[in-house]
């Protein structure tokens, strides 16, 4: 009785609600934006963008000496946009493969960030140590301001996706047709990765690099199991992202000492694995059933 009472209270506490709103907004938007990213085979651009932000954060700190969140966020955003620009540039104009380009941007960007931070620390610049914690999540510590920012960016990203859905899905599906009919493929391509980068940067202080990457990748691939329609996939991905966020937040509000961000990721992962098992057409069970049935028919006829 007492236990359930406490759990109940925890679920409706102010902080729980704030965190739930913030992460649900990010979960929904990341699911939608991520769907297009995953279909364009750009799933891990988010990971690269997240790591590159450290260089921006460090540079901005070195220039201004301020550790205020808006200043650092601005630096992170610049770095992420430059990072994905380099990424798109290298993909277009060099022979290096996509995944290698992602890994290069990720590791070199992060290394540069660490070098700048360590350089400042070694020179005794106060406040410079631990800037890389910017990449770690503080999901449980979202404030109403954070949640509002996340909600706004999520609304903006969802509207951009809604506006450019037609164009982006076209280049994702059939690039040569898109080019032949006169759509600016390179521009749209860049727009998509910038959208992902913005998502990542805004989500970083709240969710951390790994959670953002997870929210951009896992809900879309889970949603893909359930549907063959793109619009539906985007919606389902957004929904899965949202459900994971709400579920993870609720669970971490009930059970003590359960880090919120990782629980959200685990929720999404569980949804993904369940989807792989029981999805109506593509799921493992459905496929097994199909093969059994066709075997049965073959037996009857044989």
């Amino acid at each position: 009785m007492n236990l359930s009472n406490m759990a109940f209270e925890g679920l409706f506490a102010y902080n729980t609600l704030v965190v739930m709103i913030g992460t649900a907004a990010v979960g929904f938007a990341a699911g939608m934006v991520g769907s297009l990213g995953v279909l364009r085979k750009r799933a891990l651009v988010s990971d690269a963008a997240a790591h590159v932000t450290l260089a921006g954060v460090a540079t901005v700190f070195a220039l201004t000496g301020k550790r205020d969140l808006p200043v650092l966020l601005a630096g992170a955003l610049c770095a992420a946009i430059v990072g994905v620009a380099v990424l798109v540039f290298l993909k277009r104009f060099t022979r290096t493969r996509d995944d290698a380009v992602t890994a290069i941007v990720l590791s070199v960007g992060f290394g540069a960030g660490i070098a700048i931070v360590a350089g400042m620390t070694a020179r005794g610049v106060p406040g410079s140590a631990g800037l890389e914690h910017f990449l770690l999540g503080h999901t449980a510590a979202l404030t109403s301001g954070d949640a509002a920012l996340l909600a706004i960016v999520s609304v903006v990203s969802v509207s951009v996706v809604a506006m450019l859905f037609k164009e982006v899905s076209l280049i994702a599906f059939d690039q040569s047709f898109a080019a032949a009919t006169g759509w600016p493929v390179a521009f749209l391509d860049y727009l998509l990765v910038v959208l992902v980068a913005v998502m990542v940067v805004v989500g970083l202080p709240a969710a951390g690099a790994v959670l953002v990457t997870a929210l951009v990748v896992i809900p879309p691939v889970a949603a893909r199991q359930w549907t063959d329609r793109l619009v539906v996939m985007l919606m389902v991905a957004g929904l899965i992202g949202m459900v994971s966020a709400v579920g993870g937040v609720a669970l971490s509000a009930i059970v003590p000492r359960l880090a919120t961000g990782p629980v959200i990721v685990l929720f999404a992962a569980v949804i993904f694995f369940v989807s792989c098992l029981v999805a109506p057409k593509r799921g493992l069970l459905a496929r097994v059933a199909r093969s059994l049935r066709s075997q049965g028919i073959a037996d009857e006829h044989g």
Partner: protein
């Protein structure tokens, strides 16, 4: 100061640190070349996150930081990651990057949850348990035959030795599988074995790399030198050698730069490796931007000079009927001046003349022009007046072997479609 004093207490600190970085980078670059070719570059990053649950479990089971149990836990977690990624790709049909993304984020989250809930009372900073500090590697030594050798260096030596030997033994198989998976399978090669061995090597290298030089650096060491080497050279064993060279120089230059700038060596080495890659992008002999620009510029210059020579040759051939027109653009103007200054053409009574050397050159250009016109006229459905422009373009590109081939193809024909004689080969 005597030699005894010189060698007394402190070893060559930075030398050992650099040697360790270089050694790890050799293994990483070799394995990384394979990974890059097989589009598995992101595995390093994935493993660097995904080992966390393995470490936590190992520590909970009583493993000591840097001890064998922790390393074993990390390797097991790394192999699990790799295996699950593979299953998702094959079984569910996910793309490589998506399956990697799903697995490593999930693993990392499991690790953090274990850390905060089960192990929250342990002051278990994953960074302390596994990730080495390159700069301080030389202080952690073991004595071997009376020599103080850093433990990480020895560990890396063992791992790099195993990996290097394994790669050399399975070299042909690995290369075949990397370039033509379907073909290798069709040829009945043990493709699965090759893949498993490669992934095992990757896991070993990455974990050993963490332990020696830290997580930031190993991801860079795996991919960046290999990708740069791929831009510079083309054959697989050249790629591996080049990648190893780039990795080693990157390690040493990066460490020195870190010393000079007083900053973290791992971060700086990653930056230097990135710089090497950028240099490769810009200056690669075949595909680099600079060589592209240079070759285009050089081609334009050569074309301009050759056009001048050919024009004067035609003037001489026609015994003055055709005119030597004044140069049109700047480059033509400079080209003619250059030819005049170097004595290849001379002005005599207001008429331009070729010397014997440049006459040979001019003749071969005209020969190439007319041969091409004749050949094109025979083989392509083109009106007579459309033959000249393509020949103007091609005349600068045909070598003597090709010209002979074209001549053979034309048989007895010794005139171009406009009726001019084709000069014979010199």
């Amino acid at each position: 100061m005597s030699m005894g004093e010189l060698f007394s207490e402190v070893g060559p600190i930075h030398g050992w640190a650099m040697a360790t970085a270089a050694l790890v980078s050799v293994g990483a670059a070799a394995v990384g070349s394979m990974l890059v070719v097989r589009k598995m570059s992101l595995l390093g990053d994935a493993i660097s996150h995904a080992v966390l649950p393995g470490i936590v479990v190992a520590v909970l089971a009583g493993g000591q930081p840097g001890g064998p149990l922790v390393i074993l836990g990390a390797i097991v977690a790394a192999l699990l990651t790799v295996w699950l990624t593979h299953v998702l790709r094959r079984g569910v049909g996910l793309a490589e990057d998506a399956s990697t993304g799903v697995v490593f984020t999930t693993f990392f989250s499991i690790g953090v949850i274990l850390l905060t809930s089960v192990a929250s009372q342990v002051d278990l900073d994953p960074a302390c348990v596994l990730y080495g500090i390159l700069e301080l590697v030389p202080f952690d030594t073991v004595t071997l035959y009376g020599c103080e050798i850093p433990r990480s260096f020895l560990n890396s030596l063992v791992v790099v030795g195993i990996v290097g030997l394994g790669l050399i033994v399975s070299w042909r198989l690995q290369v075949f599988v990397a370039f033509d998976l379907a073909g290798a399978r069709a040829a009945g090669m043990p493709v699965a074995l090759a893949t498993i061995v490669l992934l095992l090597f990757t896991a070993m290298t990455v974990v050993a790399g963490f332990e020696a030089v830290g997580a930031i650096l190993i991801v860079a060491m795996l991919v960046v030198p290999a990708a740069a080497a791929e831009l510079l050279v083309h054959r697989m064993h050249h790629v591996v050698c080049m990648a190893v060279m780039l990795a080693v120089t990157g390690s040493i230059v990066g460490y020195l730069a870190a010393w000079h700038l007083n900053t973290n060596a791992a971060g700086m080495i990653a930056v230097v490796l990135g710089f090497e890659y950028a240099l490769a992008v810009v200056f690669a002999p075949a595909d680099g931007f600079v060589s592209d620009l240079m070759s285009v510029a050089w081609l334009r210059w050569r074309v301009a000079c050759e056009d001048q020579l050919a024009m004067i040759w035609r003037f001489e051939e026609s015994a003055g009927v055709r005119r030597v027109t004044p140069p049109k653009g700047l480059i033509d103007c400079v080209a003619r001046q250059w030819l005049a200054v170097t004595g290849q053409i001379r002005s005599k009574n207001g008429q331009w003349r070729l010397d014997s050397y440049s006459r040979t050159k001019a003749e071969s250009i005209v020969r190439s022009h007319r041969l091409w016109e004749a050949w094109l006229g025979r083989h392509a459905d083109l009106p007579l007046d459309h033959l000249h422009p393509p020949a103007e373009f091609i005349e600068h590109h045909l070598g003597s072997r090709l010209l002979r081939q074209i001549e053979d193809d034309l048989g007895q024909e010794r005139r171009d479609p406009h009726g001019s004689d084709i000069p014979p080969e010199q």
